[in-house]
């Protein structure tokens, strides 16, 4: 298999947009191609992610539409949908297309637009990512799924609502340093703890927002990458799946798909958790960050809450997690999130993250989770 590098990144501002998903993606993709310093005609394939376009925009077949709006109407496209892990799954397949020798330059990413519909509609469309025979009729929502996980983690390990609140405070503090973030405002522990319950024990400020946005990456084979500035190498990328049914999870305090995806990615990369300098992980809810830091091997099971409370995961701490602000503050356009996380890690490893730079970062990790913890992708990146 050939080595693969990320040579270009592009991310729109996250927040509310009047542009469609396909337009948002095209804008991010044009920035990524410009960043890579290649001719648009060098792109041989587009791997595009979007989840709710059929519902929010009455628009399917978005891959060719995005290619058309980008000005590359003849590039072959594939559309991916794996709930919130969508564009990280697309990324892994784009890596395989280059690693296998099929293509030398592939454009990958995604976009989402949901702020054009009411919150209750967005909540409904996201709930389509859970099972329609049992879980949707029961009225289970995504905050509900992670509330079940939070309760199990609290019961088993003594994790507290205050520890979860520390994750929100930290990610908002990081978001202030990211000009692309949806929220660039610090919040206090009290603000989180006094916010209204959405699904007990999760409160409004434990939840990431609904977000519009797009993100794109240009991937290249080693031969092409060597001709461009500062390639960031894909050291490993592994996907794992778990049962769609929440009631079938063997231990609700864990996300076993995260553990399996991480093991696969570390093995491919020849790395261990102690080699990682900077992390972008899937904090769709504060408890999700706590459980992910344990499943990725950074902290012992049951100590992820303590890590947040002690500041170990803050910029300046022993392992900075979500320097971009994470899904919590940067925002979570679900079809774009995986690619946006990778864009942040690439920016960090290039040393171009400005005020949120993790000094001397050489190895980075991205973790994206989809749906009822049923899809997880973990990737590792390194610089020369």
């Amino acid at each position: 298999m050939r080595r693969v590098a990320v040579i270009g990144v592009g991310v729109t501002k996250f927040g509310k947009h009047d542009r469609t998903s396909a337009e948002l993606f095209a804008a991010a993709a044009a920035d990524a191609i410009t960043d890579a310093g290649i001719a648009p005609s060098a792109i041989q394939a587009l791997y595009f992610g979007n989840v709710t376009g059929g519902e929010t925009e009455r628009q399917l077949h978005m891959g060719p539409l995005a290619a058309t709006l980008l000005g590359l109407p003849t590039v072959p496209t594939t559309r991916f949908e794996n709930a919130c892990a969508t564009s990280h799954v697309a990324f892994r397949h784009a890596v395989m297309e280059i690693a296998s020798g099929v293509s030398d330059v592939v454009l990958v990413g995604g976009a989402e637009r949901v702020l054009n519909v009411p919150t209750e509609s967005a909540t409904e469309f996201f709930a389509y990512c859970s099972d329609a025979s049992l879980e949707q009729p029961a009225g289970l929502t995504f905050p509900g799924v992670f509330a079940l996980i939070a309760r199990a983690h609290m019961d088993k390990y003594g994790t507290t609502e205050e520890q979860m609140a520390h994750v929100a405070v930290k990610n908002h503090r990081h978001g202030v340093l990211n000009p692309k973030a949806q929220f660039q405002k610090e919040i206090s522990l009290e603000t989180v703890l006094k916010s209204a319950y959405v699904a007990d024990p999760l409160k409004l400020f434990d939840c990431c927002p609904f977000t519009d946005g797009g993100a794109a990456l240009v991937l290249a084979s080693e031969d092409v990458a060597r001709r461009h500035r500062r390639p960031i190498w894909v050291l490993g990328s592994h996907a794992a799946t778990d049962t769609m049914f929440v009631h079938e999870k063997r231990d609700l305090s864990r996300v076993t798909a995260t553990e399996r995806a991480a093991q696969g990615a570390y093995r491919q990369a020849g790395k261990t958790p102690t080699d990682v300098d900077v992390v972008e992980l899937h904090d769709c809810f504060t408890i999700a960050e706590i459980v992910a830091t344990e499943g990725l091997g950074f902290f012992e099971p049951g100590t992820g809450g303590l890590a947040a409370e002690k500041g170990w995961t803050s910029l300046g701490g022993k392992l900075p997690v979500n320097p971009s602000g994470g899904l919590k503050a940067k925002g979570h356009p679900i079809g774009a999130t995986g690619a946006a996380q990778i864009a942040e890690i690439v920016t960090q490893l290039r040393g171009e993250a400005d005020r949120r730079q993790v000094d001397g970062a050489r190895t980075g990790l991205t973790h994206t989770l989809g749906g009822n913890t049923a899809t997880v992708v973990v990737s590792l990146f390194g610089r020369d």
């Binding site: 025979s133 929502t141 079940l148 996980i149 309760r151 959405v198 007990d200 009631h247």
Partner: protein, 126 residues
């Protein structure tokens, strides 16, 4: 090839009508809800339906306060994962138990719940 004994649609329709059934693998004995083609435990395709009695205990629960479109009139409502006494778990709506009494390990009993014209899988007091 073993004939499919129950499908997803009929399984949940039966459950909502009050007849709760699991499927047991004829090879390794794994008990599952809902039905699948292959047993995740042993890879065989040899299922038999097993009636489930209904008693169980709460594994985890939440009180939903922001609902999807069309369900706003139902909030707040509790949803729980319940481990049935036969050893298999199931997700359902909690009814007739005060929210403050909910905790892991609380005994509950399966029963269908009628909300407007829709029947749901539910759990009430043991």
């Amino acid at each position: 090839m073993t004939e499919r004994v129950i499908n997803l649609k009929t399984f949940f329709e039966e459950a909502r009508a009050g007849r709760l059934t699991g499927i047991r693998c004829g090879r390794c004995g794994e008990l599952a809800i809902p039905p699948k083609e292959f047993c995740a435990g042993c890879g065989q395709r040899d299922w038999q339906p097993v009636p489930l009695a209904g008693p169980g205990t709460i594994v985890s629960f939440t009180v939903i306060r922001v609902a999807p479109r069309g369900r706003g009139g139902e909030v707040p409502y509790a949803v729980a994962v319940v481990r049935l006494e036969e050893g298999v778990s199931l997700l359902g709506r909690i009814v007739d138990i005060p929210f403050e009494a909910l905790k892991a390990g609380l005994p509950v009993r399966f029963r269908p719940v009628q909300i407007d014209t829709q029947s749901l899988i539910g759990f009430g007091p043991a």
